[in-house]
Symmetry: C2
C-alpha cells in the first residue's frame, strides 16, 4: 500500500507530496528537506519569474540528490475594466491609510504577457531538468504537455471535480491531484461552478478514482497518518499536504502566518476572493470581513491580486495579521511546529499503525 | 475495529447507522431491514406527529426484534413578519401557476406550539421504549436529556464543528454524529456560521475526535466500504449513511427522487435554503436556481418549509422533479438501486478487504 505506482513513478519512499504553496513558503530548505525525508518536495513557482525559478532549482539540487517537483499556474484570460479597477482601489483606500502606506499605481499584466511568462517558466523547467511538474488553475495546451513529456517530465494535473479529472487524463497528465473543499489556499476549479466544486474528499476521491485510470493524489485537510490512511482507503495512491508543511520549521511562511494557524480553530477558516480575485481558503481576518460584502464585484485573478500586493506586503512588514492572506486548510488544530522529518516520519508510522 | 464501543452501545453487528432522513424516506420497512441486516435503522421523525411516531414505532417492532433509533428536530425560535411571509409567497406565485395549484393560506406554527409538539414527541419515544434517540438542529434542554437517560435511552447529538461536539458532550450525549459538508439534506449547524461549519469529513472527524471523549459517528458522502474504512482511519467509530440508503429498494423516497440521484453527478449537488429556510444539500433544479437570488431574504426554518409545502406536494404528485426537494450528499455517482441487505453486506466486505 505505501509502495505503489505513485511512489515508483515519482521515485520517492513515501506517498507524501508537499503542496507547492506559492508566495515564499516553499523555500529551497523546505523542498529539499521533504525530498531528503522520503517525500516529494515541490516549488510553488506560480508567482516567480523564470530567473527566480532557475535559481531556486539549482539551489535545491545542491541540497538534495532526490527528486523534487515544481508547480505552475496556468494563465487565464485577464480582463478588468478601468472602472472595475478603480472601484476596487477605492474599496482598499481605508487599508492604505490604516497601514500608513502610499498608493502606487499597480501594474496589471496583460493576457499576452502572462502567457509569455508561462512559456518561459515551462522552458526553464525543461532546461533545468525538473523531473516533475504540476499545474493548477487550469490545464496547459496540448503543445506544452507534449513538449514536457518529450523531455521525460512527469506531469500532475489538479482537479476539483470529476470532469476536471477526466480532462486532465485526456490531455495526457500522468497523475491527477484532487483538491477537496478542505484545502487551504486557492481553489483550482476551471470547469463548472465554484460552489459545485467545493467537494469534500470523502466524496471526491472515490468518485474520481472510479472514473479515471491515472493515479489519484488527494489534497485538502490531510495533516497526519489518519488523513493519509483514510485517503488511501478512499482510493488515492498518495497525498499532498500543504498546511501541515507550512507550519514546519523549514517553511518560509511568515512567522505571523505560522502562529495564526497554530492558534486558530477550524471554524475560523473561510473562503474569500478579496485577496486575489480567485476563491481561496484561509483564516478570517479584518481584510476578509470588511471586503466580504464587496467581494463579488472585485476583478478576477490575477488583477485583484496585483491590486492588493502593497497591502499584503505592508501588513507582512508590520507583522499585522489582519491584512495578510493567512491561507490554511480546514484542519488547523492538527498543525504543529516541527521539522519536516518529524512530520513525515510521524505521519508514516501513524498511518502504518492504523492500517495493521 | 468493526466491533467496538459503538456497536456494543447500540447493540448492533456492524458500525453502520441509517441516517434518519425525514419526510417519508424512513419507512418501517427501511428501518427494520437495516436493523435486521446488522446496522441501526432510524426513524426520521422530525416532521411527524406524536401519533404517527407511536404508530411507526409499533409497526417496526413487529418487523424486527433488533434495536432501532429515532431522530427528532430540536425546535428553534420561530419568527417571521407578515411582510417577510408575503414577500416569500409572492416569489412563489409563478410556481403555483406552473403547477396549476391554488394557493391555500399556509398555517405557520408558533414557537410555543413547536415546543409542545417536541415534548410530546419525546414523551412517545419514552413511552414506546425506543432504545436510541438522536437530535439535530440544536441540542435539547438538560431536562429532556435527563428524562431520556433516566429511561435508559441512548442519546446521539449532531455536530458540524468542534464547538458543537463539545456542547453535545457537556450536555450528556452518549455519542456524537459529525455531519461533514458532504452530507445531503439539512445542515445541523447551531453554533457559529453556516459557511464556517461546512467542514469536510477529512478535517472534521480527527479534529472532533481529538477534543471529545464520547465516540464519534461520521456522516456525509459515505456510500461504501471505502467511506466506512476511511472514516474509521480518521477516528470515527461508526458511520451514518443517508443517500446510500435513500436509493435502496426499501426506502420510501419518491421514485423520481431515487432516479434523480442515480442519474446525476457530484457537480450538480448544491446548497440551498429556498425549500425550507434552512441550508440543505440536494440536486440543483429549477426551484433552487430560480429562487437563488432571493434566498437570503426568505423566512427561517420552519416557516419557509411550511410556505413551500403545497409546491413540493404538487410536484411530487405530478412527478415533477424541478420543484421537489431532491436531497442528496456529494457522492451521488456511488449510489445504487439495491436492497438494504446488499448495501450493508457489500459495504462491510469492502471495508474489511481494504483494512487487511
Amino acid at each position: 500500500m505505501w509502495k505503489n505506482e505513485v511512489t515508483k513513478l515519482l521515485n520517492i519512499n513515501y506517498p507524501i507530496l508537499q503542496a507547492p504553496m506559492a508566495g515564499g513558503v516553499t523555500t529551497s530548505k523546505l523542498v529539499a528537506s521533504v525530498s531528503n525525508s522520503g517525500g516529494l518536495g515541490m516549488i510553488g513557482a506560480g508567482y516567480m519569474t523564470p530567473a527566480q525559478i532557475r535559481e531556486q532549482i539549482r539551489e535545491i539540487k545542491q541540497l538534495t540528490p532526490n527528486n523534487f517537483g515544481i508547480n505552475l499556474f496556468v494563465p487565464n484570460e485577464i480582463h478588468a475594466t478601468e472602472s472595475e479597477i478603480n472601484t476596487a482601489m477605492d474599496l482598499m483606500k481605508p487599508f492604505y491609510e490604516e497601514l500608513q502606506i502610499e498608493e502606487k499605481q499597480a501594474k496589471v499584466s496583460s493576457t499576452e504577457a502572462a502567457l509569455v511568462n508561462f512559456h518561459e517558466q515551462v522552458k526553464v523547467v525543461i532546461e533545468e531538468n525538473v523531473p516533475i511538474c504540476s499545474f493548477t488553475f487550469g490545464i496547459p495546451s496540448k503543445k506544452v504537455v507534449v513538449e514536457l513529456k518529450e523531455n521525460n517530465i512527469l506531469l500532475i494535473g489538479t482537479a476539483t471535480n470529476v470532469k476536471e479529472a477526466i480532462e486532465n487524463e485526456n490531455l495526457g497528465m500522468d497523475l491527477v491531484c484532487v483538491q477537496g473543499c478542505e484545502a487551504g489556499g486557492h481553489r483550482g476549479t476551471f470547469i463548472g461552478g465554484f460552489e459545485e466544486s467545493l467537494i469534500g474528499l470523502m466524496s471526491l476521491i472515490p468518485q474520481v478514482a472510479d472514473q479515471i485510470n491515472i493515479p489519484v493524489i488527494a489534497a485538502g485537510g490531510i495533516m497526519d497518518g489518519r488523513g493519509l490512511s483514510a485517503s488511501m482507503c478512499l482510493g488515492a495512491k498518495a497525498v499532498q499536504m500543504g498546511t501541515a508543511f507550512l507550519t514546519c520549521q523549514e517553511s518560509g511562511a511568515h512567522h505571523v502566518h505560522k502562529e495564526a494557524i497554530l492558534h486558530t480553530t477550524e471554524d475560523e477558516i473561510v473562503l474569500t476572493r478579496a485577496f486575489s480575485g480567485k476563491w481561496a481558503r484561509g483564516i478570517k481576518n479584518r481584510f476578509i470581513t470588511e471586503m466580504k460584502e464587496h467581494e463579488d464585484g472585485l476583478p478576477n485573478f490575477p488583477v485583484q491580486n496585483t491590486l492588493t500586493q502593497q497591502i499584503r506586503g505592508a501588513a507582512s512588514s508590520q507583522n499585522n495579521q489582519e491584512f495578510m492572506s493567512l491561507w490554511s486548510g480546514q484542519s488547523p488544530t492538527l498543525a504543529e511546529h516541527q521539522t519536516v522529518e518529524e512530520l513525515i516520519s510521524k505521519t508514516m508510522s501513524e498511518a502504518k499503525a492504523i492500517m495493521t
